[in-house]
Symmetry: C2
Subunit: 404 residues, 2 copies
């Protein structure tokens, strides 16, 4: 399968660092070969990474009779990044080192139905406590990546939605968390963050879509290592595409939205209409926890729970086939807390749908996968966004035109 | 609105030539300013275009007290490209000069239900006849861009579908047309070609989606001047996304596909079930011509025709809102023969849907437009694909890493 056809993309410092992380120790020559850069360009890139303190010389290797090649490797404790995935029903944080290792992971206060002024101090306190537990020297903590729902103004660090309360719309989320923690804060779409997390953990050369299910359903797309952004980073709203043109009106303005038929709030709401099932599974907590119980019961073979999950799976398959038919991807990865237990059922059904219903299945297969760290991909991705920001700010080399 | 966020994209020869075409006559300094390239890079790019004979010096201009600036302009007759949009129900061709002007446009033999061996000689004959009419010197005719339906193996120049007859699947379409005409042939998705045509005619800096309706419904996406390709150029199949999860099975493997509910074949099929309407409008030709009659009647206020068109519009709106919610575009352009008469009704309904139901409407507006040359955008785009291939093959400048 060919790459995503953007002939003018060139490898970046992000890609070079990912590659060094993957290989462990590696020579500049090997890096140049793996990326298609000239050796001079790679020497320049490695010099930048060394100047940042992110990469250091770790020895030499001799291959055949030639001159020994100097090897470079990552300096894992050169910096630490905080990632937080945050919404109404869940909030988890991680501290990640430069090698991509999760040093601390922790549940944090979620939004619930509270106003931002009530939530932010708790969130800041949670971050400080994680950093203390990580033992990361303060001057090496480079910032917080806050992965959350949209629509959002990513540049301004502001949510543009009244969820969960009207006070959140326009609230200076990034600025308030910066003020409370003393650390730079970047906001990122949660599904896109999950894609960045999956990529950082699983290899740098990939193009894939993410279906992300937490309190709601979203999706993300990584093309040749870069997130697809659309015009304002507010695309890929899988939960708000219609899977039933005559379905219920949604707050978003659309009708028959996937989220209202297949998402945790919809599934748990339907489950609570069945008192026997609700009592048997101890439902009535919050939608995401209830959904988790229903999913576990479905995995264990409970017929009533299975019926609810099957409806969700069926509609998620319809929407994800739409995603594949529009973006033409070869790989779809599931991530988010809602998939933590019941994920294998969704994955299996998606694989079946991909094998039998996607438009381009005779051109190439489409693979359905569960993320390795399904519940933390987005928070880890949030942390990696901080690192990407640092590397992208190093973009000071003049660009030649790609005359093609 | 920010650009599509691909930080590593760089301007290309295609963009430089588009800009010269737009401006008429322009200095290198102005070109450098408009593209963000250095003057040295722009001088290099212009030199390449001059070596191809595409651009020449056209005089000087003095601004203020400085040295007069030399101006460059396009050499319109430096080369000619043939574009053909081709499917079962329609086939149209154009000969385009380097200035993007359509020198000849003509209806060509369509596939109908015939095997490729019957169609190809007629198509080749049509191309030869257009070229004769254009009076283009043979050595300046650079190739044929054949805009057609998918799935396709664009690289190999082969269709991967049994439409309209099983013999078309795997038939070496590009090679056979090359053999028959003596000209290089590139195949391109018809909706993507329409996007390239719209861009070439309307400015170089754009990001937008295309909804293309001919025999079937498709879509395309231009991001910062580049077509979105996905992994195999087989994405954006708007006609094969489900708008009714319980709808009829489709040959593509999916169910409730937009094409089978809103496309010309579906609408004309439903119209023919109404003998009074069919007689009144003289239906019973082919689906696309019937659809055109139904559309004209709807525009003229025929109640029965309007009801059929309204159903099509409603479902096309649902699917196009999905397209917008996933790709986050600010502009959707309608193109293709099916929109030639009835296009304004679709455009108006889409604008209403965008204003009221797209997910990111509080972040930015989304504009619905009809292409300027709605019936020929895809064939013109096919011709421009030939030009793009020439320019992209000039990509011999070594690339520096974008260290961001």
């Amino acid at each position: 399968m060919r790459a995503f056809g953007s002939e003018t993309r060139v490898p970046t410092l992000v890609a070079v660092l990912d590659l060094i992380r993957e290989r462990g120790t590696v020579s500049r020559v090997e890096l140049a070969e793996a990326t298609g850069l000239t050796q001079a360009s790679m020497t320049h890139a490695v010099r930048k990474l060394m100047a940042l303190g992110f990469v250091h010389e770790v020895g030499t290797a001799r291959s055949g009779r030639g001159t020994p090649r100097r090897l470079v490797g990552i300096q894992p404790d050169a910096c630490y990044m905080v990632g937080v995935q945050f919404d109404r029903f869940i909030s988890v944080g991680v501290v990640v080192d430069l090698a991509g290792r999760v040093v601390v992971r922790r549940e944090l206060p979620r939004a619930g139905e509270r106003v931002p002024e009530a939530v932010l101090p708790e969130l800041a306190q949670g971050v400080q406590s994680m950093l203390a537990a990580a033992g990361a020297p303060r001057d090496r903590v480079r910032g917080i990546g806050l992965a959350t729902y949209g629509p959002q103004d990513r540049e301004a660090g502001v949510l543009l939605t009244q969820q969960p309360t009207p006070e959140w719309r326009g609230f200076p989320l990034a600025a308030a968390l910066e003020e409370a923690t003393g650390l730079p804060v970047t906001i990122e779409n949660d599904a896109t963050a999950a894609g960045i997390g999956i990529q950082a953990l699983g290899g740098s050369s990939s193009s894939f879509a993410v279906v992300f299910m937490s309190g709601g359903i979203g999706s993300g797309l990584i093309i040749d290592g870069h997130p697809y952004r659309g015009s304002t980073s507010n695309g890929l709203e899988l939960g708000h595409i219609s899977v039933d043109a005559l379905g219920p009106d949604c707050d978003c303005g659309n009708r028959g939205c996937l989220d209202n038929i297949a998402g945790p709030i919809a599934v748990s709401g339907r489950a609570r209409e069945n008192p026997g099932l609700a009592a048997r599974l101890g439902l009535g907590q919050d939608p995401l926890r209830d959904f988790t119980e229903i999913g576990r019961a479905a995995v264990a073979g409970d017929a009533e729970a299975s019926e609810l999950i099957d409806t969700s799976i069926q509609r998620l398959c319809v929407a994800t086939v739409t995603l594949v038919n529009l973006f033409d991807v070869g790989r779809v990865v599931l991530a988010g807390h809602a998939f933590a237990d019941v994920g294998p059922l969704y994955r299996e059904a998606l694989q079946d749908a991909f094998d039998n219903t996607v438009f381009m299945r005779q051109v190439h297969s489409v693979k359905a996968e569960l993320a390795d760290d399904v519940a933390h991909a987005a928070s880890i991705g949030g942390a990696m966004v901080v690192l990407r920001n640092i590397l992208e700010s190093q973009n000071s080399v003049g660009r030649e035109p790609a005359t093609g």
